[in-house]
C-alpha cells in the first residue's frame, strides 16, 4: 500500500487532529504519535506542519491550548497542551458525518468502475 503524504494528507490534517484530541488532552508531539499509531505506519507526516493546523484550529475556537508550567530549576522550552472545546467536538462530529457521506458516494462510484 502506498504511503499517504503531502497534499493528500494536508487536506485532512485538521480533522485528524480533532480526532486525535477526542482521545484526550495532548501536546503537539503526542498528537503526531497518536496519528502515527492510528495510521498503521502509512502516514508520512512532516511533523512541523502539525503546528499551523493547531494554530488555525485554536483561532477557530475548536481547540484550546495552555502552556505547561515547568518545575522550578528545569530549563528548556515549555510544552503547550491542547484540548477539544465543545465547539470542536461539534465540528468533529460534523466532519465525521461529511467524511462518511464522501466515502459512501465516491467509494460506490470507484468500486462500480472496476
Amino acid at each position: 500500500m502506498n504511503k499517504i503524504s503531502g497534499d493528500t494528507l494536508r487536506g485532512h490534517l485538521e480533522t485528524m487532529v480533532l480526532a486525535a484530541l477526542a482521545r484526550g488532552e495532548a501536546h503537539g508531539y503526542e498528537i503526531t504519535r497518536r496519528l502515527e499509531a492510528r495510521g498503521s505506519g502509512l502516514l508520512e507526516l512532516q511533523e512541523g506542519t502539525l503546528y499551523p493546523a493547531l494554530y488555525r484550529l485554536e483561532a477557530a475556537g475548536h481547540i484550546r491550548g495552555r502552556w505547561e508550567e515547568k518545575p522550578a530549576g528545569i530549563r528548556g522550552p515549555r510544552r503547550r497542551t491542547y484540548r477539544l472545546t465543545p465547539k470542536g467536538r461539534r465540528e468533529l462530529a460534523l466532519r465525521q458525518e461529511n467524511w462518511r457521506s464522501f466515502v459512501n458516494v465516491v467509494g460506490a462510484i470507484l468500486e462500480g468502475a472496476t
Binding site: 508531539y29 511533523e47 506542519t49 503546528y51 499551523p52 483561532a59 522550552p77 515549555r78 503547550r80
Partner: protein, 258 residues
C-alpha cells in the same frame, strides 16, 4: 540543541507576525524537536543521528514557513509586511534593556533621557503649531497659563511614573509572575486601550482648556481626572514590552544548554 534551535530560527524568523506570536511558535517548535531528539537518544541513537532524524521528521523549512505564515491572521501579516524595518527597530530597542552590571537607578535615568529625546521632535512640533495658532488668532500667550500648567503636570507625572516603574522593574515583574497569567493578559490589553483613552481624553481636555477657557477650579479637576490615567498610560505598555523582553531572554539563554 544548537542545530535544533537554528532550524527553528530558519523556519520562524522570516514569518511576518507579531513578536509574541513568533515567540510562541519558536518555543513550541523547539519543544517538539527536543522531545523528538530525546526520544531518538532513548532509542539508542547517537547524538548526531538523533538530531538528523529529528530534523528530517520535522519537515522542510520552506514548507513549514509558508504554512506558519498562512496561519497568521491576514491583517497581522500585512501590518508586519508594511513595517520593513520592524526587526531593526526591535533590535535597536534592545539597547534600552538593562545592562548586566547596570544599577536600576542608572537604567531609569538612561531610559527617561531616551524618552525625552524621542519626544522632543513631537513637543517642538506641537509648540510650533500652538504658537502658530496664537499668532493667527491674535491671542495673548498669557491667556494660556492654565494650559501650560496642564501640559507640564501631565508630562511631568508621566515621566515620574515611568522613572519609578523602571526603578522597580524587577519587583513589578516578580509580582506579575506570582499573580499569574490573567494579570499579564489584562496588562497586555491595557497596553493598547489605556494609552489610547488617556491620549484622547488628555488632548480633548487640553483643547477644552484652550478654547473653552473654564474656571481655574474646573481646570484643576480636569487635571486630577487625567492624572489618574497617567500611570496606566506608561506602565501598561512597559509591562507588555518587558514581558516580551523576558521571553526573548529566556529563548536566547536556551543556547547555553547546548
Amino acid at each position: 540543541m544548537r542545530q535544533l534551535k537554528a532550524q527553528v530560527e530558519r523556519v520562524v524568523h522570516p514569518v511576518r507576525a507579531s513578536v509574541g506570536r513568533k515567540m510562541k511558535m519558536r518555543e513550541e517548535l523547539l519543544g517538539h524537536l527536543t522531545t523528538s531528539y530525546e526520544e531518538g537518544l532513548a532509542n539508542g541513537l547517537k547524538e548526531e543521528e538523533a538530531i538528523r532524524r529529528a530534523l528530517e521528521r520535522f519537515g522542510e523549512p520552506a514548507v513549514l514557513r509558508a504554512e506558519l505564515q498562512a496561519s497568521v491572521p491576514v491583517v497581522e501579516g500585512i501590518l508586519y509586511f508594511a513595517i520593513p524595518f520592524h526587526s531593526r527597530i526591535t533590535e535597536a530597542g534592545r539597547t534600552l534593556w538593562k545592562g548586566d552590571d547596570e544599577s536600576a537607578l542608572r537604567h531609569a535615568w538612561r531610559l527617561c533621557g531616551s524618552v525625552l529625546a524621542a519626544c522632543l521632535p513631537y513637543l517642538l512640533g506641537a509648540y510650533a503649531l500652538l504658537f502658530g495658532y496664537l499668532a493667527a488668532t491674535g491671542t495673548a500667550r498669557s491667556s494660556l497659563s492654565e494650559c501650560w500648567r496642564f501640559v507640564t503636570a501631565f508630562h511631568g507625572a508621566s515621566l515620574v511614573c515611568f522613572f519609578l516603574y523602571i526603578v522597580f522593574l524587577d519587583e513589578v515583574q516578580q509580582a506579575l509572575q506570582t499573580a499569574g497569567s490573567s494579570l499579564h493578559r489584562a496588562a497586555r490589553i491595557g497596553a493598547w486601550c489605556v494609552p489610547a483613552i488617556a491620549m484622547v481624553l488628555g488632548s480633548g481636555m487640553g483643547v477644552w482648556i484652550i478654547v473653552g477657557k473654564p474656571s481655574p477650579h474646573v481646570t484643576w479637576q480636569l487635571l486630577v481626572a487625567v492624572s489618574v490615567l497617567v500611570p496606566g498610560m506608561l506602565v501598561c505598555p512597559a509591562i507588555a514590552l518587558t514581558a516580551d523582553r523576558k521571553r526573548r531572554e529566556e529563548w536566547e539563554s536556551l543556547i547555553l544548554d547546548g
